[in-house]
């Protein structure tokens, strides 16, 4: 019986490796403030619709709207409101960025949106 334990552990390890290599990417979103990840959201687990207020360290507010599978900046008190104009986060290669508040909302590494990129 003892003989089988290493084999079973090895099999589990291989299984885990294969899963992490081939698993479909999730919908994890990171909230980054001044270069540091301050929160993570799993969009696939969201139910209904909610807002999250993000206060910038130097003052300033961005309000996120989070729904199942999607997130956007609903409103903000930054000058250009470019983050709001960007609409929903659709692609890993085009994060929502609020330069004045040093805020980025992006898909986590290995997560991806429904689109590869956005032409605008």
């Amino acid at each position: 019986m003892k003989k089988f334990i290493p084999a079973a552990v090895l099999l589990l390890l291989i299984g885990w490796c294969l899963w992490s290599w081939f698993a479909p990417p999730g919908r994890i979103v990171e909230i980054v403030q001044r270069g540091r990840v301050t929160a993570r959201l799993d969009l696939s687990r969201e139910t209904g619709s909610r807002t999250i207020d993000i206060l910038a360290p130097g003052g300033g507010l961005n309000r996120l709207l989070v729904e199942k599978g999607r997130v956007k900046v609903l409103c903000a008190d930054c000058p250009g409101r470019d983050c709001v104009k960007m609409g929903w986060l659709r692609s890993a290669s085009l994060p929502l960025v609020c330069l004045p508040h040093g805020l980025t909302v992006r898909y986590a590494p290995h997560s991806e949106g429904e689109l590869d990129s956005l032409s605008q």
Binding site: L10, I14, C17, L18, W21, F22, K85, G87, W88, R90, S91, A92, S93, L94, P95, V97, P109, H110, E114, L115, D116, S117, L118, S119, Q120
Partner: protein, 354 residues
């Protein structure tokens, strides 16, 4: 005797099975590792040419490729910037009519800009900077210039104000050159060339909304590119292989005038005022970023009918145009791989055939 043979046969079988298991395991790990390195994603984001840039490359050489591409984009920015007095263009615009020796990039791109100006019958014009400045689009201090002022400024514009001889570039006094309309497309082409030269087969870059791709996605599928709608959502999703997708829209930079009208930064070279051709979003799709960059602006200025006629006559990048009355115009080469967003499901679609 028989028993011994059976025992030995069983041992050999066991050894063989053990060996086979190890080989299978090694093959599995090797395959998994190959797949992992081939699809491994490398990304870098930075600010250049007054816009956010995101470069993504897949595979084992991705990191090195991105650092080369990053350096190339920054180099092009330093040559072409219209606001940097040390750049080729900055020096040229301040030279008061004197000739300026420019870099190879600037000379090649100027020659290309003049070519596109002639090809589009002036719809793409790289000399509109004095007019753009009068509208305040360069300083964000927006205003609506008087007709007389525009007429005076338009005298300074036109491709014949630019003289290029080898790498010596000269402007008429008061005229200005701005390669911003094709600079991003050019930087995209050059960045992808750097990435390809480093041995990467799959990459996607986004320069301020200009999307350009190398090869296919790492899973062998086509890239899925959303085309942004002026309303904030999507017009639709386009599937592309190695191509550039460039969209020009009045929604990118605009202001509301004292008369309540919206004024955007894409100007009609004939009037010096925001181009009101009926098209509010023009997307150009083709193999070269610089051509798509010029043509998306030209299609926007031309309007749907003229753009369709141009494409029938000259070919060039395919297009997806959205008019202010909500109609879509799509060239036939893109039609089969473009999925209209549900928001435009009711829109009248005209497929333009050559």
């Amino acid at each position: 005797m028989d028993g011994n043979w059976r025992k030995r046969g069983g041992n050999i079988m066991k050894k063989f099975l053990g060996f086979a298991a190890v080989v299978l395991l090694a093959l599995g790990v090797w395959y998994g590792w190959k797949h992992f390195t081939k699809t491994r994603k490398h990304g870098v984001s930075f600010y250049a040419m007054d816009t956010p840039v995101t470069l993504t490359a897949y595979g084992p050489r991705g990191r090195e490729a991105l650092s080369r591409a990053h350096a190339r984009v920054k180099q092009i920015e330093s040559e072409l910037s219209v606001t940097d007095p040390r750049s080729d263009i900055g020096q040229l615009n301040a030279a008061g009519g004197a000739p300026v020796q420019v870099s190879e990039d600037t000379a090649a791109l100027t020659s290309f800009a003049l070519h596109m100006n002639a090809l589009t019958d002036g719809a793409f014009d790289p000399t509109l900077y004095p007019v753009l400045r009068a509208w305040g689009f360069t300083t964000e201090k927006h205003r609506v210039p008087e007709a007389d002022e525009l007429a005076e400024l338009l005298k300074l514009t036109g491709a014949d104000r630019v003289r290029l001889s080898g790498r010596a570039l000269r402007l008429d006094e008061g005229s200005m050159l701005d390669l911003g309309g094709i600079g991003k497309g050019f930087a995209g082409d050059e960045a992808l060339a750097s990435i390809a030269a480093a041995g990467v087969e799959s990459a996607l870059i986004n320069l301020g909304g200009n999307v350009q791709t190398l090869g296919l996605r790492p899973d062998g599928e086509k890239w899925r590119i959303g085309i942004k709608s002026p309303g904030g959502g999507l017009i639709g999703v386009l599937r592309i292989a190695a191509e550039a997708v460039v969209t020009s829209g009045g929604y990118e930079r605009f202001f509301t005038g004292p008369d309540g009208r919206i004024y955007w930064h894409i100007l009609d070279p004939l009037t010096g005022a925001p181009a009101r051709s009926g098209v509010i979003s023009a997307t150009a799709v083709g193999p070269k970023g610089r051509i798509c960059d010029a043509m998306s602006t030209a299609y926007f200025v031309m309007g749907a009918e003229k753009a369709a006629a141009y494409w029938k006559e000259h070919g060039g990048p395919g297009f997806i145009l959205l008019s202010e009355d909500g109609k879509l115009w799509i060239s036939e080469d893109l039609n089969a791989r473009f999925t209209v967003d549900p928001a435009y499901a009711e829109a009248e679609v005209t497929v333009v055939r050559r």
